[in-house]
């Protein structure tokens, strides 16, 4: 028998008049009332004017970033498109005759890159899977639009919102390494 019956303590006459409950209720409500009205202590935020400080590590909208030299970092490997649980990401690969990549050695970059922000669940898997550090969940939490079409962010918009993110320039290093070995010893 694991249950133990505990007898309820009988109420005193004073308690049975409900007066202590009423008084304690009055005390609590009066305290909060005076706090709000006379000391101006509120727990709410006047949203559009007052903004919330977004904490580090917040998972907002995912955007594409450029490197220090303003080059597109994405190489269209489509891992994010693959991993995206709600299938919000859609990449159009460049194909054989696509535009050359911003970074010479990277060989390719996406022809089009769309994120449907209505489908996005801000899980951060795209950021986690990205081998090029090209997509980051940023601090935007208030995404609004007047149509569904407007909420599908294309490459230009994603890059504009994403800004710059430095990091290791591995393709540049590869290119420099290759240039250093230009004299090809046969």
């Amino acid at each position: 028998m694991s249950t133990k019956v505990v007898a309820r303590a009988p109420l005193t006459f004073y308690e049975r008049t409900y007066l202590p409950t009423i008084l304690s209720g009055l005390k609590v409500t009066a305290k909060h009332f005076t706090d709000t009205v006379f000391r101006g202590k509120t727990v709410t935020m006047e949203y559009p004017e007052e903004r919330w400080v977004v904490p580090e590590g917040y998972r907002g909208a995912p955007y594409l970033v450029k490197d220090q030299e303003g080059a597109i970092k994405c190489v269209s490997c489509q891992l994010c498109e693959f991993v995206c649980p709600p299938k919000a990401i859609r990449i159009t690969p460049p194909g054989a005759d696509g535009a050359p990549a911003d970074r010479t050695n990277a060989e390719k970059m996406p022809k089009e890159f769309e994120i449907n922000m209505l489908r996005c669940i801000f899980c951060g898997m795209c950021q986690e899977v990205c081998p090029e550090e090209a997509i980051f969940l940023q601090k935007d939490y208030s995404l609004t639009g007047e149509s569904r079409a407007e909420m599908i962010f294309d490459k230009a918009k994603l890059l504009k919102l994403g800004g710059t993110h430095g990091g290791v320039q591995k393709w540049k290093h590869k290119l420099e390494g290759a240039k250093a070995q230009e004299v090809f010893p046969v």
């Binding site: 209720g25 409500t29 909060h32």
Partner: protein, 363 residues
């Protein structure tokens, strides 16, 4: 104003009564709207929130200082709320019993407004008594009308043909009928003491002999608590308890019909407050000030009397609102227990004791 004297007394009566009805109706409606605002604001303050502070007509920007202050107080919120209710889609679900479903909101509102008719909300203004109907059986009229209010709620629950409204209305009918008995009994000692059923006489008695709240505290407590139960306010809001019954009897309602239920609820609160002011707190009088405790001789004093009455009423309204956040909802059996096993015996004893005291003191 000369032409008034050439009219027959009955014509004058009809004219002034109509005028008073329109004035009172307008005031009550406005009071209801602002009671909602006060409720929202007071609730917000008790919960460390701000409350409605956005709604404003465009021209308010041209007022310096005062404009933004009014907006922060939410003065324009009731207008927006009313407009919203009017513009919402009036949706009637399938499978409701249409006639009852449509008639129920009206049945709830009408008795609540009719109660106000016998309340003397001031002394006199000029030669006119500040009461729509100066009945000798004012209090009986009130109880008669108030007990009709339950039909609206029962019909709403039955007409909705849905389980939550049905449960809400069942609870409501039992609750309201139960509490009408102690409520009615609690006021009997007042009439024993005052010797009249006319509400004006009761006020006059209080002006001369002191407020009834001091003479009949037991009656006041019973009446106050029964008033909470009759108006379905917390801690006795079992008919519409959101946590159990979605919205209670008005779950299936929307738009203006829903607004009518709210209107009825707040009008009931106003009527109850007015009754308590009249019966227990001296109506439009204030003690220690002779000008304020005798019927007015000038228009100004007359207006002041009306102001005193409304101020007292507002205090009771705030009490209604405040109690909402002080106490949790009663359990249904507790509610019934208090009504039948505590208040009815207490009221009976109070009647007997008062009767004995009055009988012996008069001799």
């Amino acid at each position: 104003m000369e032409f008034l004297q050439y009219l027959s007394p009955s014509t004058q009566f009809v004219l002034f009564s109509a005028l008073k009805i329109f004035a009172v109706f307008g005031v009550v409606m406005t009071a209801v709207a602002y009671a909602v605002l006060v409720e929202r604001k007071v609730s917000a303050w008790i919960q460390n929130r701000v409350g409605p502070n956005r709604t404003a007509p465009f021209f308010i920007n041209y007022l310096p200082v005062i404009g933004p202050f009014l907006v922060r107080l939410g003065i324009f919120q009731p207008m927006a709320d009313g407009l919203k209710f009017l513009l919402k889609e009036d949706f009637t679900p399938n499978y409701v019993r249409k006639v009852y479903f449509w008639i129920a909101p009206a049945i709830t509102v009408i008795p609540a407004l009719m109660t106000v008719a016998v309340i003397p909300f001031g002394s006199t203004l000029g030669t006119e008594k500040m009461v729509i109907a100066d009945l000798n059986v004012g209090i009986l009229y009130t109880f008669g009308i108030v007990s009709l209010g339950v039909y609206g709620i029962v019909l709403a629950g039955y007409g909705s043909n849905s389980k939550y409204p049905f449960l809400g209305s069942i609870r409501s009918s039992a609750q309201m009928i139960s509490y009408e008995i102690p409520m009615g009994m609690s006021v009997i000692p007042i009439f024993l003491v005052a010797g009249s059923l006319n509400l004006g006489d009761i006020i006059r008695y209080q002006a001369e002999h002191g407020w009834m709240i001091l003479k009949q505290p037991v009656a006041f407590v019973i009446f106050l608590i029964a008033a909470f139960a009759e108006t379905n306010r917390l801690p006795f809001d079992l008919p519409e308890s959101e946590s159990e019954l979605v919205g209670g009897y008005h779950t299936e309602y929307s738009s203006m019909k829903l607004a009518l239920f709210f209107l009825g609820e707040y009008a009931n609160m106003i009527a109850s407050s007015a009754m308590m002011v009249t019966l227990f707190c001296g109506g439009w009088t204030l003690p220690f000030v002779t000008a304020l405790s005798t019927p007015s001789s000038s228009i100004l004093i007359g207006l002041l009397h009306i102001g005193v009455f409304f101020a007292k009423m507002a205090l009771f309204m705030i009490l209604f609102i405040w109690v909402r956040w002080m106490l949790p909802r009663f359990r249904y059996d507790q509610l019934m227990d208090i009504g039948w096993r505590r208040f009815i015996p207490a009221a009976l004893i109070n009647i007997v004791v008062t009767a004995l005291v009055v009988a012996f003191l008069h001799d």
